[in-house]
Symmetry: C2
Subunit: 186 residues, 2 copies
């Protein structure tokens, strides 16, 4: 056996929740798509909510690892890495499995601020902010906190625009805007 059944389940569940939504995906659908029995599911996770939390955790880890790896491959200087972030976004948008951001979707479907799922999405965004802030500070740019949030807003906006499909190259347009902001803060 190459892989833990549990990990297979979380991976498949992540894909299905991402593609199909959380409320719209029933446990029976996960049984059908993952090939894992419902009995095993509830042996590993005591509820659907627990499975969603695990799926979000896997998503966060996979996306973080992939994006930081790609950014480092594309650029080495902090300022260039800030811009490379948008190239990586563009690669993501062009994947045919792209369906907006899983955390934005999760926070939409679980809007109560103190819901565990909502909280996990907020924490993921905080982590993203800390990453961008570290790059901004390493690049010695002015007003680092505000600039980091503005760059993050451009990323969020690019994701939403890519999702609505009203632009051919949202990542490229966001990158140009980011360049203007970074140049102004140099």
């Amino acid at each position: 056996m190459r892989k833990n059944k549990r990990d297979e389940l979380v991976e498949k569940a992540m894909e299905t929740f991402y593609r199909n939504g959380f409320h719209a995906t029933g446990m029976d659908m996960l049984v059908a798509e993952s090939g894992i029995s419902k009995t095993s599911m509830y042996k590993h996770f005591k509820s659907k909510e627990d499975l969603i939390l695990a799926a979000l955790g896997l998503r966060e880890q996979q996306f973080h690892d992939w994006s930081t790896k790609r950014v480092c491959e594309l650029a080495s200087e902090p300022k260039d890495q800030l811009l490379a972030l948008f190239d990586v976004l563009g690669e993501w948008f062009r994947e045919d499995t792209f369906k907006s951001c899983m955390f934005i979707k999760a926070s939409s479907e679980y809007p109560e601020p103190d819901h565990p799922i909502h909280q996990q999405t907020v924490e993921q965004r905080n982590t993203m902010y800390q990453g961008v802030l570290a790059l901004v500070e390493a690049a010695h740019l002015k007003n680092p906190e505000a600039l980091a949030r503005q760059l993050l807003m451009l990323q969020e906006g690019a994701i939403i625009t890519a999702h609505f499909g009203n632009s051919d190259d949202p990542a490229g347009e966001a990158k140009k805007a980011a360049k203007a902001l970074i140049d102004a803060a140099s």
Copy 2:
């Protein structure tokens, strides 16, 4: 009778869907919250989907009317109106009923591109884009299409940031970024 029962229903349904989500809101909950009988609901709308479409239509009209009115009250020159858009966003974010954007949430919950609900959200975003583009062109700024999309991305990003609650003044920060982009295109 001051108001049509149908209109009362759509208004209440809009609020409940916006606050609670679409899949998570059942017709029985709408009966409880609106005080309108289920029989009447299905006399006016043949399905939940039809009611959601009507609620989105009302939202689009209300938000469009309110935001354009506020923008015109705050500024008269096109360039100033582009910036005033972000002040209006800030007013919206500070409402205690603010829960992200109803159309972003709807497109998340109905991700299939050819679903009527998804299509209605895409059309709403196209309308927003046309509005911003008209202002950009009236202000005689360079690269109007790209600039309009970049400004729209800042708005989308501000909405998401406001929703995640990681910033005290997302609209103000987005406005400063927008100002930099507009100045660079003058």
